[in-house]
């Protein structure tokens, strides 16, 4: 049972959280102007790296706030969590 550090509530057991997929995939400004392929990329396509990945998490059983995290998909280690209004951290 991993601990995930909610930026508000601090470390809590992972069962209190729900996963929200890749972070920094904004809703397109003008969906109507996108080609079907561009729209399909927004709806269906996400990165799937081995290693560092910027993800969205929600502290669903706690304060219900969404936040972002950099997590290593190979080790599951959370390298850092950051609030939605924080910029995506530059990782080496």
């Amino acid at each position: 049972m991993q601990l995930i550090a909610c930026p508000w509530c601090g470390p809590r057991e992972e069962v209190e959280f729900s996963y929200g997929g890749q972070a920094h995939v904004p809703y397109p400004d003008s969906p109507a102007e996108l080609s079907d392929e561009e729209w399909a990329h927004y709806v269906f396509f996400r990165d799937n790296p081995k290693g560092r990945f910027a993800e969205r998490w929600n502290h669903s059983a706690g304060c219900r706030r969404w936040f972002n995290a950099i997590r290593d998909t190979a080790t599951y280690r959370f390298e850092r969590v950051y609030r939605l209004d924080d910029p995506k951290p530059v990782t080496p």
């Binding site: 109507a32 079907d36 709806v43 929600n58 969404w66 939605l84």
Partner: protein, 956 residues
Amino acid sequence: MTSPFRTPEGGRIDRSATVEFTFDGQVLRGHPGDTLASALLANGRHQVATSVKFGRPRGIAAAWAEDPGGLVQIEEPFPEPMLLATTVELYDGLAASGLPGQGRLADVPDSARYDAVHSHVDVLVVGAGPAGLAAALTASRSGARVALVDEQSEAGGALLGTDDELDGAPAVDWVAAAVAELAATPDVLHLQRTTAFGLYDDGFVLALERRTDHLGAAAPKHVSRQRVWRIRARSVVVATGAHERPVVFADNDRPGTMLAGAARTFLHRYGVLPGREAVVFTTNDSAYDAALDLFRAGVRVQAVVDARPEGSPQRRAECEGAGIRVLSGAVVTGTQGVERVTHALVAPFLDGEVGAGSAIACDLLLVSGGWNPAVHLFSQARGRLRYDATLGAFLPGEELDGVAVAGSAAGVPDLAGCLADGQRVARAALGVPAVPSAADDRLPTAPEPVVPTAPLVLWRVPDPSGAEGSTSFVDLQRDATVADIARAVGAGLRSIEHVKRYTTIGTAHDQGKTSGVLTSGIVAELLGVPVQDTGTTTFRPPYTPVAFAALAGRDRGRLFDPERVTALHEWHVAAGAVFEDVGQWKRPRHYPRPGEDMEAAVLRECAAARTGVGILDGSTLGKIDVQGPDAAVLLDRLYTNLMSSLKVGSVRYGVMCGVDGMVIDDGTVLRLAEDRFLVLTTTGGAAKVLDWMEEWIQTEWPDLRVHCTSVTEQWCTFPVVGPRSRDVVGAVFPGVDVSNEAFPFMTWRDTTLDGVPVRLARISFSGELAYEVYVNPWYAVAVWQRLLDAGRPHGITPYGTETMHVLRAEKGYPIIGQDTDGTVTPHDLGMAWAVSKKKPDFVGKRSFARPENHNPLRKHLVGLLPVDRQTVLPEGSQIVEYRTDGRLPAPPVPMLGHVTSSYRSAELARPFALALVKGGRERIGETVHVPVDGTLVPVEVTGSVLVDPEGARRDG
């Protein structure tokens, strides 16, 4: 009482009391403090069972959980399979029998309690041997919160099986003092009979405490039998000791063959002599202690057979001083006997070659091939292991954050070293100086360790019998031999993981505690590669078996899954409702009268709602309060239709889609004020829709001035349904003009009842004239009763979810998640009217323009009427083209779709169904076939609205 192999004195058993137990039907006696194994040995019994594959006799080969031989089934007081005689504490009335490798599950429910407890500590020490006790004392003296868990019935670890001394007194005296000190220190949790069986992320350790197992039938019923401790530790100190490793030779499984250290434990801890005449076979110094201890206790030690060419000069002198013969440069090549060892076959051993041998008579053959540090928890934490060629063992090979290994688990060979190592590791874990700073943090002084002669790493003795190792057992529990490993390697397997699966070595009850490293060594030898390259198989939890009952804990029976109930639950129960699970909710499905089955009850309830008046507890509906100046903007973006144009006082139906354009929920929206809406969702969608709104607000539209709050349980909802509903609602709420003119369909009005706020809404999920009554649940029972009282003259009939489903299906109202499956658009449901063309964008809109959404063969929601007017089509039935011959074609049969809802209708006087059918709306009027129980049932495709398509009743 005669226990022929019990020593006259000594041991940690209570000789003043006698315990009677039964093994394989034979009544035997032991003492409190015995294990089943020690009591059997005291009675001269070595063989416990026969082996799983070959039926060979097997006996007690070790003194604790590493024993691969002594599997038993407990028969009384409660049946439990697959326990080790070495770990079952003896109690009065215990009845057990030997198991040939496979157990038998109980066929009666387990009435014992099991529970779990969370614990948080700075330092968790696993193992209460010398290193663990030193670590726990050091940590507790610093003021840290400490947990010390140990799997045995009492603390001491290896010290319980020796006559070691500390500070010039028996070491067990120091153990007792340490335990007393820990007990007197605040914030120290000390648990014996507790096995840390899994080490997970972030210092999370699961430990199983056997709380009442040892009490047998005397166990108090209200105390959990076993408890899973969920311990979260900043630092974990693994002080789990080491397992002695056997050497493999022919017929090494014969009862009477035992690890040398285990014999010492049986002697010192339990006062048991495991035999009368012993041969001791070793590759290292440690077994000499067993030889000398047993000799002093009266055992004839026939020979110490030391595989090392020179043996151990120092230990040889000690033995010879006692008159014990030492054969250096010699090995045991096999055993003789039937159900018990009678002879050890001993032969010279030089440069890997075995010479001509001879038989030495014995009834006990002790073996030591060195020690394997118990690195299981360290390895579970993904710690890398390092092979030590001198010890022939795998040791922790790296430093881990938050997990440290101490004492013999880290390869420390002697008592003084283990004590110092425990203290050092605890200090490091706490981040305090490595040099003792306080005089009171003192550890006892152990005798100066003797510098040992280097051990010989010997995995197996060549089989001189010509049997090629086919009786040289590596994994006794799996009956797997050296020959099996040779066959695996011969078949081309190189990876130790593959060899494990090919031979099944290490997959049994003991998970390879004695066989794992042996297999690595033998595979390396056969492949001619270094053992480091072979490595070990992955160590996985649990360290020792854990019963599912313990893992389930209290989450069973009534507490297995929470039952959510509405404020009216007790009324429903009293009214004889039959309940249905809707998610976690318990909802009345129908209210049968005496003699009614569900079909009769539902037909009656439906008829009441269509012709008189019915009432439903709809309180499980999801409800969300949406507030703020931008509330309408939010709803416009999330619903497919326009919500901003809704007038205060009115209600609108709405559909919500995902970005892929597929329907995720539907419901109605009440505009309470310019800046406030009440959003109603499906019962199952309540949490999902609130989460969906929060996700968009927080992650995409933080600038919107809007807040969403769940009020699902703030309001009870009672739809009053049917032509007489106006009379009932009008009577209960005289302050409200319930006429159609003053209070039309799809509007709401606030009122009060005896000062209590009530909201009424003209919403209909049945197609009938209906008023939904909303009230704070505190008053739910009272308001419900008022409605029933007022409805009595009209025959008001409470109805359940089944009737609700029939009524809505007759009107073609879909249930999201039943009539849809995540691939269905509003257009597929025939709800193009609910999709705004005015709004520039809303969630899902762009996807509607994808070509696939214009495919004429998309499945549409339609109605189905079985032509025979009899068959209730099973939900989920497939739909196929009409077949004139009435027979299915050869598979694969082309499918047109499937039945999503199916009921018998009182109103239509026939069964009907809703279905998703390819190009369904174009097929209206056609006949298709539905296979039911092997026959093709002809059904007519119709529109989805089967009752009152004009909506005259609902609007009236």
